[in-house]
Amino acid sequence: MSEPILTVDDVEVTFPVRGIGKEGIKGVAGVSFDVRPGETFALVGESGSGKTTLARAVNGLQAISRGEINFEGQRIDTMSKAQMQPIRRRMSMMFQDPVGSLSPRMTVGDLVTEPFRIHGAEGRDMRAETERLLSLVGLPVDFATRYPHQLSGGQARRVGVARAIALDPALIIADEPTAGLDVSVQGEVLNLLNDLRERLGLAMVIITHNLHVVHHVADRTAVMYLGRFIETGETEAVFGAPRHPYTAALLSANPEPDPDKVHARISLPAEVPSLLSRPAGCEFHTRCPWAQARCSSDAPGEVAEGARRHRCYFPLDPGAMPPGMEGAA
């Protein structure tokens, strides 16, 4: 197996809170993972789980308060803006809103060649580059003169992809690449990303709340809850037999487009707690149907099981149902 291209080690992101003597909010609370070349790694979680914050930290848009981030053998979290510059050619990021992440007063041509202008590759033939990039993402060349608001969501997303691959990066971080797109267009974007990954040998980090998407595109998946990875592993394994109750609940909460399916659903009481008042012990115990006394006092550490890791004192066996619901399955 090849060396990881990205290693994230025990990273923590703290947001300051106004007021004297108050501790900051931990948006990301000690997360470790690595990504190997050619691999797709997925970060899954509900809103507020810290997945976007983590991605921004990896991209150097958000300072971290603890831990270490290494990219292609260099430590990047301590780098200055100038030092980061060559790194930015190797690692690009795509943002959630397909149209909103494109500068509204620039043409598609200007947008896709902006990476070259930023990185001083002015010597290149911009026209040729525009044509190359647009055809790579499957857009007609005459789109170069259009403005973002003249594009559909899917087309704008393709422009975003073109920008991301312009400088031949080694890693692409895609934040909700299918957000705001219709089902019939989602596939187009995911196929495009997958195709580019195979052709250009990219590594990819995909951030999403859509579990079905993850199932099809990701090699490995990490499930986040309140800024922590509560379960990590090969996607097939995690989806096939979740070990952490939250993963199980999340998977069972996903309505499936099959009217004949009988749902054995793990319902979660209450809502996600606020980051301002992180529960003591295991952070999931306030909603966990299997929670026991120990869970509310001691925080479980990360347990490794082969290639998988999870944070739970009482990991689930395949097909487990919460106490009192066993008959439902």
Partner: protein, 328 residues
Amino acid sequence: MTTLAISGLNVWFSTEDGPLHALKDVEFDVPERSIVGIVGESGCGKSTLINAILGLLADNGSIEGGSIQFEGAQDLVILGPKEMQDLRGPRISTVFQDPMGALNPVLTVGRQMVNIQYRDGGSTAEKRARAEEMLSLVRIPDAKAALDRYPHQFSGGMKQRIAIAMALMMKPALLIADEPTTALDATLEVATIELLKDLQEEIGCSVLFISHHLGVIAELCDEVVVMYAGEVVERGSVRQIFNDPRHPYTVRLLECDPARQTSRSRNLPTIPGEIPDLRQRPAGCVFAPRCHRVHAGCDQAQSLVEIGEGHAARCNLALEPQTAEATA
């Protein structure tokens, strides 16, 4: 009795670049005590349909022909604004997509719930009691105290439950739910759907449920209407639609949902092309430019072909079962 019977409904908008045919010959029923789902992607006319039913079309829109029979007694198309207003609330109520914006920010939840009952006699105390009862029914903790709080003091999921409580407080005959779970996280989405289903059974109303999420539709609805570019392209029971789709668009739409694919695949199906400009509708089938089974007969206008009990599709190939060839 049918709660809502829509037939031949056409809606036009006047725009700067000419008239836009937003809804064309829309036709379907919402039977009593049933949940009917409307599926479609952006631009299919879902919101226009709701506004047409509620009599809240924008100023530049107008209904040109067709009827919307409500409880077999009133045609909502020809009803005056005053009579329409009398129906909205007690007989037809609505839950909208955006839980953040659906409640008035400067009035307390209790005040708003009391205001809705303005038609009923009785003291404010009685109305508050009724509101409190509804809030506990949708599982708002400490319902009494919740009445005196402002909307921004609740989380998104709670706001949506409050909106549902408000919508069902008058025990309407028809509840229109416009993407009520789209803005919510997965775990909340399921809880909201289950709540909606429980309350629908308890109150015995019909629900018109709009969503682009096929999973939610499959789980919640009895019948499904598939819309594309302002037309009903297929309708039928939930099993007919999901197990035996007859319109090529329905077939492709179902295929595109990654959740429908049992085996893990890196190459996901798509529908190439885009929705046509509704200012220049094609003369024939609207889906023809993107259809994988397009043939000579498609340049003619299509009519809804009856396939079986309650099952119809707007395609001249509707009587032939759709096979797996679509994937090719």
